[in-house]
Symmetry: C2
C-alpha cells in the first residue's frame, strides 16, 4: 500500500467551487484498479494555508501511475483548476502508532 | 475525532536530523490525553516539496490544544527546528470512501 497526499490552497469563498471540481476527479478515481480509499479533510481555521487535504490509499505505485492516464489529465487540466494550487506526492509510511 | 496534519520541508541529506527531532516530540505527544494515533509519511520522490507528512488523530480540539503546553513549546522551539519549515493545522473529515 502507498499513500497519495495532496494539499490544496483554496481562497475563502471558493470552497464549493473546489469541492465540485474535486468530486468530479474523485468520481473517476474510485473506479480505477488499485484505488483503496480516500479521506478528504477541510481545515478548521479558514486562514490555514491548506484549506483541503486529500489522503488517498492505493495498492501500489504502479496502480497509481496507471490511473493517471489521458482521461484523468483532461479532467485536471480544466482551466477552473488554475485557482487552486496543489501539492500532490506519493508517500510511504515510516512510523505508525495507535493507542 | 479531529485530524492534525503537518507537512515538513526537509532538505535532502537532513532526513535523519529531522527524524530525531520529530521522534522527541512524538514521544511526548503519545503520552498526552486525547492522543489517538499518528502515521508519519516520507515522500517516495526526494524532490517532493514536503518530504515528511505527519497525520495525527486526536479525540477533540480541546485535547489537542491542552497537549500544546509550555513543555511542548520548549521542545519545538529548539533552534534545530529552524531548518525544517512546517505547516501545522487541524482538520475535519468532509468526505470518506473505502472500496
Amino acid at each position: 500500500m502507498i499513500k497519495f497526499l495532496n494539499s490544496f490552497e483554496v481562497p475563502v469563498g471558493r470552497e464549493d467551487d473546489f469541492l465540485v471540481l474535486w468530486q468530479a476527479v474523485n468520481d473517476v478515481m474510485v473506479t480505477r484498479p488499485g484505488y483503496v480509499g480516500h479521506v478528504l479533510h477541510r481545515s478548521l481555521a479558514p486562514d490555514a494555508r491548506y484549506r483541503f487535504v486529500n489522503y488517498v490509499t492505493w495498492e501500489s505505485v504502479a496502480h497509481h501511475r496507471a490511473a493517471h492516464d489521458d482521461a484523468f489529465r483532461a479532467l485536471v487540466s480544466a482551466p477552473e483548476w488554475n485557482s487552486f494550487v496543489s501539492n500532490p506526492a506519493l508517500y510511504e509510511v515510516v512510523s505508525e502508532n495507535k493507542r
